[in-house]
Symmetry: C2
Subunit: 207 residues, 2 copies
DNA sequence: GGGCACACTAAGCGCTCGCTCAGCTTCGGC
DNA sequence: GCCGAAGCTGAGCGAGCGCTTAGTGTGCCC
């Protein structure tokens, strides 16, 4: 395991908002472990060990193992939403903004694959309250993409019959990258982002 | 919880190849539990309880909890491959066969969502040998879809620059249905299948 | 330099996990 | 009517889980 150094589309080293240092190390260790084995198959001893600490140290910075997942999920969803908002609110045609949104969203899912995996696939491990909070963020994510598509349809740029269904499909395509993308594989996050942006423009019938 | 009765595209009641009856009940219970909570969060007591048996009964029919997952994954992948092969080998243009493949594959992921969820998302819980066996089946799945796309490109029906990447995206779209599809939701498996078939034809630039 | 807040560890508690095993019931063959 | 095989249960073992607690080391304020 090496320190991650891939370019991920203008992102600074993440998790810097998590302090103190020991809490961040634990959180980064949890992201890696959850992404590798899943939340339920990860032990608190494993997380603490990866962070170079004893099992009990975890509980000084986090109340429970679930709080770690909640924090990761919250920060990850905030970041995902920020990426989409930036693309949605820039200047340009709907096609340009949709391509930008899909491209950067996919680059994030590929380049920060470990984080994205936890964020997208471990939602069910959260308790009802945390889950509801995260689901609200997901609806905002959906809204950003739907907004761009609706504008493209309104302006005549796009040819889409089922806006909701197509929005779902676009997000689906992006999110699933976290499942299959292989960091050591033949494709860079940039290449996948460019390919998927093109495919999505075809899906919406961009002129 | 009711007995599943949705139409799923001409499928007979599945798991009938699993005998004796008690073994099938346990396997169906395991599919439900794994799909709901995930493999690692499911206990053997839960599986046995759903099947109306004591915890020890499980071990008369299966050596370990992992063997249950392996059997489910194997049967599910066989079924998925069969669906794609049927579509790929029928008569018709590449566009017709691709639409049929995507439509029926999506209908299966939506209509048999619990099975599909386990099949697509619990692969990592398998040991190395079982995992390798399943990965070989996945390569065959990939090959069937890629084959149709290659034929469409060769015949001039499709306009695709990156065949491998586009194949990945098409499968991605289908598989992710198992993550978000809601049985009580507003869309039927048939509707999603039809929408996704149309989107995929757009992705490959079908004339 | 004494006292105290803070970050951390070693040890371990109570619990539940996957899985086992001795024994009970049922049933077909003769 | 007896017997052995097969299917299943009740009780429980050893292990590992999330988390707690008592105690230790360290650095800062005065």
């Amino acid at each position: 395991m090496s320190t991650a150094e891939e370019t991920t589309g203008g992102e600074i080293e993440p998790w810097e908002e998590v302090t103190p240092d020991a809490a961040r190390r634990l959180l980064v260790a949890a992201v890696e472990a959850f992404a590798e084995r899943g939340y339920h198959a990860t032990t608190t001893r494993d997380i603490a060990g990866r962070a170079g600490m004893s099992p009990a140290a975890l509980y000084i910075h986090y109340k429970t193992k679930e709080e770690l997942l909640h924090r990761i999920s919250r920060i990850g969803h905030d970041r995902a939403l920020e990426i989409l908002r930036t693309a949605a609110r820039r200047e340009g045609t709907a096609a340009e903004r949709l391509a930008d949104a899909v491209g950067s969203f996919v680059r994030w899912h590929a380049g920060r694959r470990t984080t994205a995996r936890v964020v997208q696939y471990e939602l069910d491990a959260l308790g009802p309250d945390a889950r509801a909070e995260i689901l609200a963020l997901r609806r905002e994510v959906d809204g950003e993409v739907r907004g761009i598509i609706e504008e493209g349809v309104a302006s005549g740029e796009f040819d889409v019959l089922d806006v909701h269904g197509t929005t779902l499909a676009v997000l689906s395509l992006c999110i699933d990258v976290a499942r299959w993308f292989n960091v050591g594989g033949p494709r860079t996050p940039e290449e996948v982002g460019a390919l998927y942006a093109d495919l999505v423009l075809r899906m919406v019938g961009a002129k």
